[in-house]
Assembly symmetry: C2
Homo-oligomer: 430 residues x 2
Amino acid sequence: MAKMNEQPQEDLLAQYGERMLHTLEWLAAFGADPKGGVTRLLYTEPWLQAQLALIDSMQSMGLKADFDEIGNVFGKLQGSDSTLKPVLTGSHIDTVKNGGKYDGAYGVIASMMALGYLKAMYGTPKRTLEMVSFCEEEGSRFPLAYWGSGHVSGVLSMVDGAHLADPEGVTLLEAMAQAGFETSLAVPHPAKRTDIGAYLEIHIEQGSVLEVKNKQIGVVTAIVGQIRMTVVVTGTPNHAGTTPMTMRRDALAAVAEMVALTEQMALAEGEPMVATVGRLEVKRGTSNVVPGEVEFTLDIRHTDERKIEAFRAELIGKFKKIAVRRDLHIATVERLNTLPVAMDGGISLEIETACDFYGYTHMRMPSGAGHDAQLFGPICPSAMIFVPSQAGISHSPEEFTKPEALIVGFQTLVHVLYQYGYGGKADENL
Amino acid sequence: MAKMNEQPQEDLLAQYGERMLHTLEWLAAFGADPKGGVTRLLYTEPWLQAQLALIDSMQSMGLKADFDEIGNVFGKLQGSDSTLKPVLTGSHIDTVKNGGKYDGAYGVIASMMALGYLKAMYGTPKRTLEMVSFCEEEGSRFPLAYWGSGHVSGVLSMVDGAHLADPEGVTLLEAMAQAGFETSLAVPHPAKRTDIGAYLEIHIEQGSVLEVKNKQIGVVTAIVGQIRMTVVVTGTPNHAGTTPMTMRRDALAAVAEMVALTEQMALAEGEPMVATVGRLEVKRGTSNVVPGEVEFTLDIRHTDERKIEAFRAELIGKFKKIAVRRDLHIATVERLNTLPVAMDGGISLEIETACDFYGYTHMRMPSGAGHDAQLFGPICPSAMIFVPSQAGISHSPEEFTKPEALIVGFQTLVHVLYQYGYGGKADENL
C-alpha cells in the first residue's frame, strides 16, 4: 500500500480531481433549469433520478450504496477493524429553487470521489469510511430544513414533518410515498445512526470572506447560533401634509432609528456578530401618508449563545425605549432560535495539517450559514472545510467556485479521510 | 332688507344650518358604501346622480343652476350690479375610494345653503354670488387631480387628460361621453371663467391642529407647495449569515440613516415644514438576506418655495454623502413639484371679522393638503375656511366633524358672503 507522500498517487489523485469536476457538472444536469440554475426539490423526479444515479456511481466505485428509509443515500467503504467507529462524510443533494451547482452537491461529489480514490489507491481502510448524500437540507419544498441529517442524527422524526405540505398542498408523507419511500409513523424509525464516530463536510463558503482574505481553505470553528424575530411598530397613519412634525406618531421614523441602531451595535460588538434587518414592510404605505405601522425582521447570529442573548436583550430594550419616547406600540415575536454548534478541534487540526502538507493557505472562521454538520456536532466530533465562493454569491445560478479551488478542497478532504481511514488517526477510536 | 345683526335672521340662519346638516347626510347617500364610507368617483353613476340632485336643490332655492361642459355644476345668485365681479364659493363633489362624508361635500353643501339662506333672508345681492360643485379634485379615478377647478381656472384643458385611463382602461374622454358630456379636443374649451372676482372655499382641516389647539376656525394663510420624489438606493444583496458587518453594502441600513435625517432636519427647520417618507420598499426583501435595493418616497411641503428648494438640496446632498461613505448607488426622480399658493389677506381678514362677530375662536394656519382654492389663488383673490377634523382623520369612513363645528363654519361662511354680496364689501370691485 502506497503512502500519501509517494509519487504515483499524485497522478491518480489528479485524475480523480478531474473526475470530480466532471461529475459535479454531470449531477447539475438533474433538475437543470434552461435558464442556467438547478432546481432539485425533495422527492421530485429530478431529485430521485439524481439519487438513483449516485447509487450507481458509488457502486461502480466499489462502495456499498443504498437508500435509507427516507431517501438519504449512504455509500460505505468497509474497514477491516469493525471496532472502530466509521467516519461519515457528505452533504445534501437538494437545492433551493433555481439554485447553483455547488451548494451541497460539491460535498456529495467530493466525498464520493475521495472514497473512490482512496479505495483505488489504498484498498481496504482500517476504519470504515462512509459517505452520505442527504435527501434534504434547504427546506425549499417543505417548511422543514435538515430533514435528511435530522433523521440520521435523531433530531427529527416523521412525527415532525409528516403532515407538512408543500405549496401545492402535497404532504411530506404523500411526497415520500410517491417517490417510493414508505415510512410508518407508528413504528419508531430504525435507521437512526448511533454508530458514527465523526462527521466531516466540505462545502462552498457562501460568503466572501475567503475571497477577500485571499485564503484557499476555511476551517470552520463553529456554526453560528441564530435568533430570528419579527418586530411590529404601530403608530398613527396621518396625512403627510396636514400633520405637523411635532404631532406625528410615525412608525417608520422610529424603525429607521432601530435599523440604524442594529447595525451600529453589531459593528461595535465585532466579529463574528452579525445582525440584519432583511425584510421591512410599511403597511398601507403611500407617499402622502405618515406611516402608521411597520413590520420588520431581525436576524442575529454569533458563535456564542450568551452573546446572542445579551445582544438581543440590549437591542430590544433600546427598541422599547425608542417606542416609549415616540408614544408608539411595539411587539416582538421570536420565529427561530438555534444554538451555536462548535466544530471539533482535533479534526480541524487535521484539516490544517492537510492544508500545510499541500501548501494551501487557510484560516479559521465561523460558518454564518446553517449546514448538516450542525445536526451532528452535538452527537459526535464534527468538522467542516470551506472553499471560496466567487463574490460570495450562493442560492443563485451565478453561484461559482473556480475548478482549481474545488480541487484544493477535494485534496484537503482526501488527506483528512486518509488519516482517519489509513494513516495516523486510523487506530484512534472516536 | 334686514341687517346681519338684527334678530329675526338668527332663527332662519339656525334653520338653514340644520338643513345644511341634513343635506350633507342626504348627499352621503349617493355612492354610500354598505360598510360606512362614500365612493363617488368622477363620471360614475353615483357621481352623476349627486350632481343632478344638486342642480335640483339649487334651483329649488332660487339659484340658476346648470352643468358646464365637463360636469362642474354652477349655481348663480344674480346680483343687481353687473359691473361687480362675482364671488365664487364651493368645493368638490367627488371622493376618494371609500372616503368620508365631509371632504369636499361640506364645502358644496355649506355654499349652497349659504346662498339659499342669503337669498331667502336678504333677496337679490348687489354683487353676484355664485357657487360651484367641482366635478373632480381627488384624482381617484384618473391620474389627474383638480380636473374641475383646473378646467374652470384654465390651468388644465382636455388635452391634458383626454387619454388618461382609469384602472379598468376607460379613458377620461370615454367616461365623460358615457356620463353625457361631450367635449371636442379640437375646440378650445369655451367656458374658462375669467370673470370671477374672488374664490372662497370652506373645507374640513383633514389634520388635527385645530383640535389640538382648541380653535373653531382655521383661516388659511397659504396652501403649501410640495415636492414628491422617489429615491432608489442600491447596494449588494448578501447572505445575512456569511457576510461580516464590515463587508456589507446594505441598502436598508443606509436608508435608515436617510429616513432619520429627513425627520431630524424637518423638525429643526420648524413649522410649517413637513417632510415624510411614506412608502418604503425593500426589493426582494427576505429575513436572511442583506438588502441590496431599497426604494422610498420623499414628500416635502412648506408655504415658502425657497424653503422647499433649500431643504431638498441640503437633504439630497446629505443622502449622497451617506451613499458615498457606504459605497452605494443612489438615484432620485422628481414626481411632483407644485408651488405654494398664498391666500388673500383681505378676504382672510373678513373671515376673522366674521369669527369675532360670532365669538368663534380662530387661528391662522397653512393648508398642508391641496385644495381647489390653489387653482384660483394665482388668478384671483382666494381664501379658505377650515373647520376641525376629529383626530385629524380624513379619506376614511371615520372622517368626522361635529355638527356644532360644521354650523360654526357655515355661519362664518354666510357672514363673509354677506359682506361681499350685501354688506361692507358689496361695492368694492375685486
